[in-house]
């Protein structure tokens, strides 16, 4: 009979710790278990019962909770790759570098018709997509930028020649984009 009572106390304690959204305090357990039950003894017995199992009973933050056995946790770990996309500004900058390399920062700004923030350049550098390619021998000796082998790999290109030619992309011959393309080409 004592055996049965003890077992029922274990079952109750195990269920409440399982269902609780927070560590279960000794006070809650004392309210739940039969009045004559020794909370500490019940929890010690339960912890011993679960010790060899895949889930262990542990004491955390003043309460009891179940936690995956430390030796099992790595087997459950699963890494989901969620690749990021480049922000629009970075993508445009990268495209200009790809098509106009070697190109200075000022030239990139002229072609985009907007200023280039350091954040954007840093982002491309961090991801190894662009790299300095020497300096232009003009006043100020501005850094020249070009794309990297990682850039080719990222887009599945064998070489820069695999990029569609600019003329194929800018199909409107009279439009301002062509004029801009020529201005860019002259730069």
């Amino acid at each position: 009979m004592i055996e049965t009572d003890q077992n029922q106390a274990l079952r109750l304690a195990e269920a409440v710790v399982f269902a609780a959204t927070q560590p279960v305090t000794p006070r809650v357990l004392a309210n739940l278990l039969p009045e004559d039950a020794d909370v500490d003894a019940v929890m010690a017995a339960l912890a011993a019962l679960y010790a060899p199992r895949g889930v262990n009973l542990v004491q955390v933050a003043g309460g009891w909770l179940f936690r995956t056995a430390p030796d099992i946790a790595p087997a459950l770990r699963k890494v989901v790759e969620l690749p990021r996309r480049l922000p629009r500004v970075a993508m445009e900058t990268l495209a200009i570098v790809a098509y106009h390399q070697p190109v200075t920062r000022t030239e990139i700004e002229e072609i985009r018709g907007a200023s280039l923030s350091q954040t954007t350049l840093d982002l491309l550098l961090e991801n190894g997509l662009v790299t300095p390619k020497g300096r232009r021998e003009t006043p100020g000796r501005p850094t020249l930028w070009g794309t990297t082998p990682a850039f080719l790999a990222q887009f599945g290109l064998n070489s820069l020649r695999d990029l569609p030619r600019r003329e194929e992309l800018l199909i409107d011959p009279s439009g301002p984009s062509t004029a801009a393309a020529e201005a860019g080409a002259g730069a």
Partner: protein
């Protein structure tokens, strides 16, 4: 009697609609809905509605629509000769079938209600553990995105060019006139036109524009008599000199 109708009205409000009441009336008749008397059911329903209307006229439309339809059904069931006998049979079967459907729904809801339910009769784990990690270090890049970004950048820059045309940087005739007038006096003899071009000209269009501007300026000054031009052979160098200076020398 008045008390009874009062209770009928109250009862009506307790039902979820005419079908609900019909099912309740049918259940009072028999357990097996297949064996109920449709005529008796119709009469009971109409009696309830009639009783309710004595107390309150503003009965909801769906009650009245059902009452009208059941009145029609009752007349066909009582006097089959009024129309095709199948009409009444079909209508009665439709009603019985709808009642069976509703009965089945009630039974299903009751069955579900008696099932042990999550959050009441059993509980799931309160603190599930998350072992999935998200790796956001990779990049998702597509060539189409690169190309459309390039086009977008060029289009935007192009749109700006429309509003702000490239300034004219060419050497104008006016500039050439000023420069010639200033320089030609200092040259003693025939000099090549190209010597009068401004310094640091870019090759190509800027240089050709400067040559033609200087030539036009020279012709203009020759017309005014202050300058002489000559070209010894086709495509040869164009030479010019100051008229006043040369006259002085000639004299």
């Amino acid at each position: 009697m008045a008390v009874e109708t009062e209770s009928l009205v109250l009862q009506l409000e307790g039902f979820e609609g005419p079908l609900d009441l019909l099912l309740e009336l049918a259940r009072a008749q028999k357990v097996d809905l297949a064996k109920i008397s449709i005529l008796a059911l119709v009469e009971q329903f109409l009696a309830v509605i009639e009783g309710a209307r004595k107390i309150r006229l503003e009965l909801a439309a769906d009650w009245l629509v059902m009452a009208a339809w059941l009145t029609w059904l009752k007349s066909r069931l009582l006097v089959p000769a009024l129309g095709e006998p199948e009409d009444a049979e079909n209508a009665a079967e439709t009603l019985a079938s709808r009642l069976r459907d509703l009965q089945a729904v009630r039974a299903a809801a009751a069955w579900m209600g008696q099932r042990p339910q999550l959050g009441w009769d059993f509980f799931h784990r309160g603190t599930p553990e998350e072992f999935t990690e998200t790796d956001r270090s990779g990049l998702r890049l597509e060539l189409s995105g690169l190309l459309s970004a390039y086009l977008a950048a060029r289009r935007r820059a192009g749109a700006k060019l429309q509003y702000k045309p490239r300034p004219m940087v060419y050497f104008s005739v006016q500039n050439a006139l000023e420069r010639l007038a200033r320089l030609v006096g200092s040259l003693p003899d025939w000099s090549s036109l190209e010597q009068f071009l401004p310094e640091g000209l870019e090759d190509g269009i800027p240089r050709r524009a400067a040559i033609s501007a200087t030539l036009i300026a020279g012709l203009e000054m020759a017309k005014g008599g202050s300058l002489q031009l000559r070209q010894d052979q086709i495509f040869g160098p164009i030479l010019l000199r100051n008229t006043g200076e040369s006259e002085a020398v000639d004299d």
